[in-house]
């Protein structure tokens, strides 16, 4: 209808988006740290963070969960922070590791007995050998002796006293991200503490922290209605890819990780050349660079770059299905393997998802409003570093099973494959992208987080280029990706049915 007006509007929009782009400065320290700086002076605070390009994809079977356990260990201090006596502390760590060798030997024997069905539960105190019981008692004594030297959670304490907020970290398949907001006058404190823990971390309280992670796993996975089903589904979807195991790791791996394995992971991946420092907020770039150079310059460069992830997921040999009977609202989830986030087709897949989604999108109109078949329906494209997934989701109305929604979801894909999408739909989504471009930059912390994601999967320039890449998608592109990425043999379907509560 008014294609010309829309095209003109889109061109004006791109120009205005470019004008709003944040002024990102990129620098590199001599030892290899990449630095991204965005000066913004509307609030007297700085959103700080550093991201290391290592996540669960850099693990291997047997040490799954090490990247995430690592994230926890990075809060346990250094030779300066977190102890009253670094020398004695180090001795106690070594003694604990020695005793843990005995524990592991004995646990291997218990595993053998479990394998033969002679015991039911590795944790059962009655199953322990006297040697194991003695070793555990010795470990307990060593942990208590160390506790007397520990300045508990000193890192959060020092930050907290200084008015810093939101200290945290998180791990994904592709990266680990450590972040905090500090008052504008406290940048040097951040540089001190963060460079210290990169230079000289001490993984004290290693063994009790493994237990914390096991509780985290129970909380997020095992004690939630669909946690295990989702984990199994993911393991089914990916075959060769390290995305097949959960970021938090398999329980038996978590409980057998050693400090040596953690040290080796740190030495391989936590090197300046594999890390980006990001600051967004109220500082002066040149002053900040001087501070960062002074502090982070202390960290030695790693002469050997980390090994690349070389696995390429093979084409799937056929359609796969998983049916789970759990205590949850029933739903169906269709996952099609697609492309990484930096792939040239990613933008069109994002647009396809946006057209299907939303209150006025195709899925809700067809499944929820039109037929009254579903209580909700949606989809999303998630691009990771080494792969990506397009998911379609729907939950049935009470009394109906989830299976009948599968065909309805796939009908909507087929409609796009056959007839494409309309100019109006495309323009609506592009308007949303324009507004989102502003909204995602509003808060310093949001901008910092997005830059961290961008450098984890590609480069920070991908962040700047994204609005334009999305605006450039055509109706033909959307139809093409709908035809390319929804082949039956690349499909994985999860059907969750309600098992009645006991």
């Amino acid at each position: 209808m008014n294609g010309f007006i829309q095209a003109a509007a889109a061109a004006a929009l791109c120009a205005s988006l470019a004008a709003q782009a944040p002024p990102i400065l990129e620098r590199t320290l001599p030892n290899g740290f990449q630095v991204l700086l965005v000066e913004r002076h509307d609030e007297p605070s700085i959103s700080c963070g550093w991201v290391v390009r290592a996540g669960s994809a850099n693990e291997r079977p047997g040490i799954t969960g090490v990247a995430h356990l690592f994230e926890h260990m990075m809060f346990k201090g250094t030779r300066t922070i977190g102890t009253r006596d670094a020398v004695r502390d180090g001795e106690l760590n070594r003694k604990q590791d020695e005793v843990m060798k005995t524990v592991r030997e004995e646990q291997a024997l218990l595993c053998e007995r479990l394998r033969r069905g002679e015991i039911q539960d590795l944790r059962d105190p009655a199953a322990r050998t006297p040697r194991l019981q003695a070793a555990l008692a010795e470990l307990d004594a060593l942990v208590k002796a160390q506790r007397a030297l520990i300045v508990k959670d000193e890192l959060p304490k020092v930050y907290g006293q200084a008015g810093a907020t939101g200290l945290n970290a998180n791990t994904t398949t592709d990266r680990t991200f450590f972040h905090i907001d500090v008052p504008a006058n406290k940048l040097e404190l951040w540089a001190w503490l963060e460079s210290d823990r990169l230079l000289d971390p001490v993984f004290r309280e290693f063994y009790s922290e493994r237990d914390v992670v096991l509780e985290e796993r129970r909380m997020r996975v095992e004690a939630t209605p669909t946690g295990r089903a989702m984990e199994t589904f993911q393991a089914m979807q990916w075959q060769a890819s390290p995305y097949s195991w959960p970021v938090i790791g398999w329980p038996s791996d978590i409980s057998s990780l050693t400090r040596d394995q953690a040290d080796a992971f740190f030495a391989t991946y936590y090197a300046p050349g594999n890390i980006t420092l990001i600051l967004v907020g109220d500082f002066k770039a040149e002053e900040a660079m001087a501070t960062l150079t002074r502090y982070f310059g202390r960290v030695p460069a790693n002469p050997v770059p980390p090994p690349p992830v070389t696995v390429l997921e093979p084409p799937q040999g056929g359609e796969q299905r998983l049916t789970a009977d759990v205590e949850a609202t029933p739903f169906v989830l269709i996952a099609q393997k697609a492309v990484p986030s930096v792939h040239r087709d990613a933008a069109a897949l994002d647009i396809l998802a946006a057209i299907l989604n939303g209150d006025s999108g195709r899925l809700k109109r067809a499944l929820v409003q039109g037929r009254g078949a579903a209580i909700e329906a949606g989809c999303g494209f998630e691009g990771q570093k080494y792969g990506g997934t397009f998911r379609l989701y729907a939950a049935p109305v009470p009394g109906k099973g989830p299976e009948e929604l599968e065909a309805l979801l796939l009908d909507e894909i087929r409609a796009v494959q056959d007839q494409g999408v309309t100019d109006h739909e495309l323009q609506k989504v592009k308007n949303q992208i324009a507004a989102y471009t502003y909204r995602r930059m509003e808060r310093n912390g949001d901008l910092r987080d997005q830059l961290a994601e961008a450098v984890s999967a590609g480069t920070w320039r991908d962040f700047l280029a994204e609005p334009e890449r999305l605006q450039a998608v055509t109706r033909e592109d959307v139809q093409r990706v709908a035809r390319t990425y929804f082949a039956r043999e690349g499909r994985n379907t999860l059907v969750v049915r309600r098992k009645e509560t006991k």
Partner: protein
């Protein structure tokens, strides 16, 4: 051009040569000035008396946010129609308006990339618009339609009821929803609105006419407070709001929302156990607390931060998470209670068998803070943490005006935060101990445990002690409730 650069380089080299302080405490910081924003600087009123809190950011991104806070909620639900307020709130937006049918409203808002949401909770709700500045006139028109002329389309109501029904069916799926339904009953009794969850029957009984009547009753200028922030000129925005919201008059059915009723019930202390076959239990605790206007409020805040709140540094976190590895997280807070006294409450999750041991550690920490004065260093560190982080709460203008508006709605004193830092600084170790002794009485504890009951009751073999040995409180087993009727399951 090159001169400033050279100077900067020279400065950089000079800094590089500086030694790195041996400890972070040795770093000298420039002072950071901060004064708490005053409500009066943001306050205006419309012709009909509706208060407005306004923050213009002419140099900001091209976005505008308008939020209409509404006093009213499920405390007004008639018996037998529990769920009415929640449905009415959401359907104001989802059901379309008399001029713009539901599907057209969805379509237009999404084409404008605008976000318009409506909701009503227990005692209040809001209608919130987030829109590009260029589309403000149309967005405000749509907001006014939703506020004053909702159509409550029958097919959208039917859709919402199906979703609600499906949601009710899943009440026993998650530990937190089970505890969330049961705790208000334990604390406030069957007679209070906080325990009155919707049932399948009450949702079935709600009609389109009920929604319309509920809406007509709420739509009174005295029930509304507005906040607005973003890219606009203050004067023009106030004129625009006055020409729209400022013309709102109370219809014949409109009522000033009545006071929120306080519970009359006294909770029966005990350890309540609900059986759910999962490998980890959820434990919630609650003790009677105080209101934010109480003279002890600042000391209670400090007490909680020492014991339970404040991320990693609290004593309970150190003990139960960090030392013993029994939980991923434990946290608590003093509820501030605008309508009645809040509670000191919190929660953690742990392996079923560890519940008894973790609770023993919990109670030992509670006793310790009553027995031993807080060391000066620990107290100072906690106080500094609260005081120094306080400015971060006021960073964004949108948050500032929303805070002023929401506090006005419930009747907290204006500028109640102005002397907050001074009050926190004034708290002494004796104050903390006194408040701990006043409010942390284990004999009044209500503990709710949702998990595998047999394992919870037995306790951990490595740390002997059954749940019944934890405290001189009755251990009471409670049945799960039928998710659709809320009657106890046998």
């Amino acid at each position: 051009m090159y001169r400033p650069l050279l100077l900067a380089l020279a400065a950089g080299l000079a800094l590089q040569a500086q030694a790195i302080p041996p400890r972070p405490e040795a770093i000298a910081f420039k002072p950071l000035a901060f004064t708490v924003p005053k409500a009066g600087a943001f306050k205006a009123a419309l012709s009909n008396g509706i208060p407005v809190y306004i923050a213009d950011e002419p140099g900001g991104l091209p976005l505008v946010r308008i939020r209409v806070f509404i006093k009213g909620g499920s405390y007004l639900d008639p018996a037998g129609k529990e769920g009415l307020a929640a449905l009415a709130g959401a359907q104001m937006r989802a059901g379309g308006t008399r001029r713009t049918p539901a599907a057209a409203l969805d379509e237009r808002l999404e084409f404008l990339a605008a976000d318009l949401q409506a909701q009503l909770g227990e005692t209040s709700g809001s209608l919130a618009l987030d829109i590009l500045d260029k589309d403000l006139p149309e967005g405000l028109d749509l907001l006014m339609q939703v506020l004053t002329q909702p159509a409550f389309a029958p097919e959208r109501l039917a859709e919402a009821k199906r979703a609600l029904r499906q949601g009710l069916a899943s009440r026993n799926d998650r530990l937190d929803t089970i505890a969330g339904l049961e705790m208000p009953r334990l604390l406030y009794g069957e007679g209070h609105f906080t325990r009155a969850g919707a049932t399948a029957a009450s949702v079935d009984a709600i009609t389109r006419e009920d929604l319309a009547a509920f809406h007509a009753r709420l739509l009174h200028p005295a029930n509304l407070v507005v906040s607005v922030s973003g890219k606009f000129q203050r004067k023009a925005m106030l004129a625009r709001l006055d020409a729209t919201l400022g013309r709102l008059t109370a219809g014949s059915a409109a009522r000033v929302s009545p006071a929120v009723p306080a519970p009359a019930y006294r909770a029966r202390p005990g350890i309540y156990v609900m059986d759910k076959a999962v490998p980890q239990s959820l434990v919630r605790w609650s003790l009677p607390g105080l209101r934010r206007t109480d003279p002890d409020w600042a000391a209670a805040t400090v007490l909680n931060r020492i014991l339970a709140g404040g991320d990693f540094t609290a004593r309970l976190t150190k003990k139960i998470r960090s030392d013993e590895g029994l939980t991923y997280g434990i946290g608590g807070a003093f509820g501030d209670g605008p309508y009645w006294r809040g509670n000191w409450s919190g929660q953690f999750q742990t392996r079923n068998a560890s519940v008894a041991y973790a609770l023993k550690l919990f109670l030992a920490e509670v006793e310790r803070i009553k027995r031993e004065p807080v060391p000066a260093e620990e107290l100072a560190s906690i106080q500094a943490g609260i005081v120094e982080a306080f400015p971060a709460r006021w960073g964004r203008k949108a948050g500032v005006v929303d805070l002023f508006a929401s506090e006005r709605l419930v009747g907290w004193p204006e500028d109640g935060w102005a002397d907050y830092r001074a009050r926190i600084q004034a708290v002494t170790a004796e104050d903390v101990q006194r408040v701990a002794r006043t409010y942390l009485d284990p004999a009044k504890l209500v503990l709710l445990v949702v998990g595998k009951a047999d394992e919870v009751l037995a306790g951990d073999r490595d740390h002997p002690g059954a749940l019944a040995d934890v405290a001189p409180l009755p251990v009471v087993r409670l049945p799960l409730r039928d998710p659709l009727t809320l009657n106890p399951l046998s």
